[in-house]
Assembly symmetry: C2
Homo-oligomer: 501 residues x 2
């Protein structure tokens, strides 16, 4: 009987995944040039299909299969993939059923309204107009946490949505030394002579930028037979299935960094999804292990490879051949320093690799305190500005460039920000393991041979999809639990060298 | 009770249409650059969604609603759109339910295999290897006709699939004079000096072709806020909803006719769908009235406008500015004659406007005789070649360029070909009506002002979608039933002038 149930369960999950794949194509299409007069109708179609998947995820049918398949003797008889697939669906099922449907629907409407209110508030530098929405979101998340249940810290329940198994206790322990050492390093850099980067902001014809991005994607090993590069206002990568993982970028006429490093970043996400094992297709395991592990790959490729001197020792000539006038008289070392310029600034998405984590920590600390009732929504603008001053030495003179800059909170995405820095931390741990296991890896990068590196990452990370937990992936790949040691070492070594500290 | 049933029926139909819209986006995506490694998985998704729509179309639920809503007293109480929508679905429901599911599934598999066999047979000039498939298709269609029922002629039942209400009796009556007069005209032209067209086959950079196609699309009134132009190996137009109707074309490096007139052709299809009344959205009436009426619009815009002297009197300067070297020393009259060159040839898709209808009639006559058992599949190559000789004065020396050239029969699309010429006939009737009702319309075309023309077509044709039958549309718009008089007049007048007959 359970064999039959396994088949039915897999068929139901496959159906859900197939509807989601169709929906994802529609979303990709909307973001890459769908005509605007069709958007309203298309959004309804997306809503209908998403609703179908949600209904299936909490259907009586699903409930029956999960009840059978999670019995311990049945569970033991399942193959590994099916077992993980059942557990993954069971977690979602329980999570969804714990929230009364009306409450959840109200929340969806609330966040939709809040996103609109946030846009207005940001445009008008008017936090107070956004405040009631944010207060209601925080209150609702508080109710959800009570319904979902929580362990040591209420905020853990939110973190777990994006980074399964991650806790406040763990993050606090990791972030503290990273923050202290980063703040110290940023201060040292502030006393040093700044590097040049004027040559990065010139006229760069879009068609040339595009061709260079395509060239770099091919060099990195992005498979164009399993993907494509398009333009969108916000760059993204989207995995429809491992044979179709698309990336987008945006081209700015006077800035080649934006398209190039945006492309490499999304390429990291995409190569992860392109190399997920075929066994996992048509299950919910055919995706990244977590937001943090996913981000570790975009950051690894963008920063540790794409902003390394070895990489540009190999490709700078190609760049200067494509843009001979723009880089006339600029050495590869000057280029390398320019793309790694450190400068405390107000806006997270424009921040450099070093100061970026400080932007994240500010948000993480405030979210945690908000959810635990230590601070209130009304306190946010003041605390934001104080922390910016303390960690980064800059203070926004309005909320538009401060507490209102990100969309995340308006969408209810509390627990998400931390994963950006977890990604950097994981990336550095993986990089250290690679250095040990492929001692010549930097020489290989300098020679443009990324095969071994890609194979290692595929073996340790990519192929497993979501069949392993983030902590398992990191432990198996590096022999250690998550810790900030390697990121601190990497950042200090890199920036002390660049700034001659 | 019936009000409630109306609501439920409309909701069910809306759901089906929404799934079909998602499926159509997936199909568009597959044809315009989806990465090949994702195609197999994507095809499964399309199959799943299409299967869902089919199941809904013959579901018990649908059956119940149709039973209630087609009762004569209920029917009378329905608003016009709902009534037509109910009748449209009822026809599909009856049609689908009359075929035993297993028989239909076998037929789908047969045509899939036959398309593959046809490709091989065409590549190898081997009709005999394709013959058994075609025999089985013809036999199966014969069984379907028995199950569906038929009136005076068995073939009427197949015609009705593509051109509701059309019959053999009617087509025979219309095609005969068209054939005789066309054959005569083609013979007269053969004795005349041929016009130049060497300048059409030169190097035309793709980017310039693309820009010119976009320019022409805008001039014709294609709404880019409700559509987009992409590339595909076979040009097509696809209406996702009236706010999103996309066109594609293909660019040949040495031929600007292909992309330009392909684009105008698809633009005609697309403007039809862009201007369907919003009331019809989410019903099966939000599409063209028939294949023939749809084709009348692609042909009207491609040939009657896009290949007219008035049109090029307005736009030839734009063309020569875009391609100054290619058209150096070529007058607008020479260009006009070149794009209207008449020359009997073997391949339908490359045929000119005049001889095209003869290609269609050959296929129509053979299909009709095949379905009625007058001839057999084995006779096809011989009869094909004889008719080519008789109507066009050219004879293929192999089946690849003869009976094997089209995919239609392999897909079971018997009854389809005739609609291409019906489209030309409708187009000429509509053009004659326009000439009467907007006497200055050719001057307006020459002035680049197509507003009134578009408004007339929208009022008479486009807005009605499938809510009116083809015959109703033509009678209301022109005051006459379908007849070939206007097409004959148009062709004779145009080509006698071009060839100075």
């Amino acid at each position: 009987m359970s064999a039959n149930t396994v088949e039915k369960f897999n068929a139901l999950v496959k159906r859900m995944k197939q509807i989601e794949e169709a929906t994802a194509v529609l979303i990709w299409d909307l973001r890459t040039g769908a005509p605007k007069k069709g958007v309203e109708q298309r959004s309804e179609v997306i809503g209908m299909l998403s609703g179908d998947v949600f209904k299936l995820s909490i259907s009586e049918e699903m409930g029956q299969y999960l009840e059978v398949l999670t019995q311990s003797d049945v569970m033991e008889s399942l193959d590994e993939i099916t077992r993980e697939s059942v557990l993954e669906r069971k977690k979602e099922y329980d999570r969804s059923l714990k929230i009364p449907p009306q409450k959840y629907q109200d929340y969806v409407i609330l966040t939709a309204k809040a996103e609109y209110a946030w846009q207005e508030a940001k445009a008008n530098n008017d936090f107070d107009s956004f405040r009631p929405y944010l207060e209601e979101i925080v209150a609702t998340l508080g109710e959800f946490i009570e319904l979902w249940g929580y362990g040591k810290d209420k905020y853990d329940t939110l973190l777990d949505q994006y980074e399964p198994g991650m806790t406040v206790a763990k993050i606090d322990e990791i972030f503290l030394p990273l923050r202290e050492r980063t703040v110290a390093l940023v201060k040292l850099i502030a006393d040093k002579e700044q590097v040049r980067r004027d040559f990065l902001n010139q006229a760069f014809p879009k068609a040339d930028q595009r061709e260079f991005c395509e060239f770099i994607l091919r060099q990195l090993g992005y498979d164009f037979e399993a993907g494509r590069l398009d333009e969108s206002s916000h760059p993204f990568a989207i995995g429809l299935n491992p044979g179709d993982v698309r990336v987008t970028t945006r081209f700015r006429a006077d800035d080649m960094q934006s398209s190039l490093f945006g492309t490499i970043h999304e390429c990291g996400h995409a190569m992860y999804e392109q190399n997920i094992s075929g066994d996992l297709v048509n299950t919910y395991l055919a995706t990244g292990a977590s937001m943090g592990i996913h981000e570790s790959q975009s950051r690894f490729w963008e920063n540790m490879i794409g902003r390394s001197l070895e990489f540009w020792n190999r490709y700078y000539q190609d760049l200067t051949e494509r843009f001979p006038e723009q880089f006339a008289g600029v050495s590869v070392e000057e280029f390398y320093r320019a793309i790694n310029l450190v400068e405390p600034s107000l806006i997270r998405v424009d921040a450099d690799e070093l100061t970026y984590n400080l932007h994240i920590m500010i948000r993480y600390e405030m979210e945690k305190d908000l959810i635990n009732g230590v601070i209130t929504v009304a306190d946010l603008p003041r605390i934001w500005n104080e922390k910016m001053e303390e960690y980064l030495g800059v203070r926004p003179d309005n909320d538009t460039n401060g507490v209102l800059q990100d969309i995340h909170w308006a969408g209810g995405a509390f627990g998400y920000f931390a994963t950006y820095s977890l990604g950097n931390i994981y990336a550095a741990q993986l990089e250290a393991a690679i250095s040990r296991e492929i001692p010549k890896y930097k020489e290989l990068v300098a020679a443009g041979d990324l095969t071994e590196l890609k194979a290692w990452l595929t073996d340790k990370v990519y192929r497993h999809g979501k069949a392993l937990k983030p902590a398992e992936i990191i432990y198996r790949a590096t022999g250690e639990e998550i810790n900030a040691k390697y990121l601190i070492q990497y950042l200090e070594s890199k920036y002390q060298s660049i700034y001659k500290i």
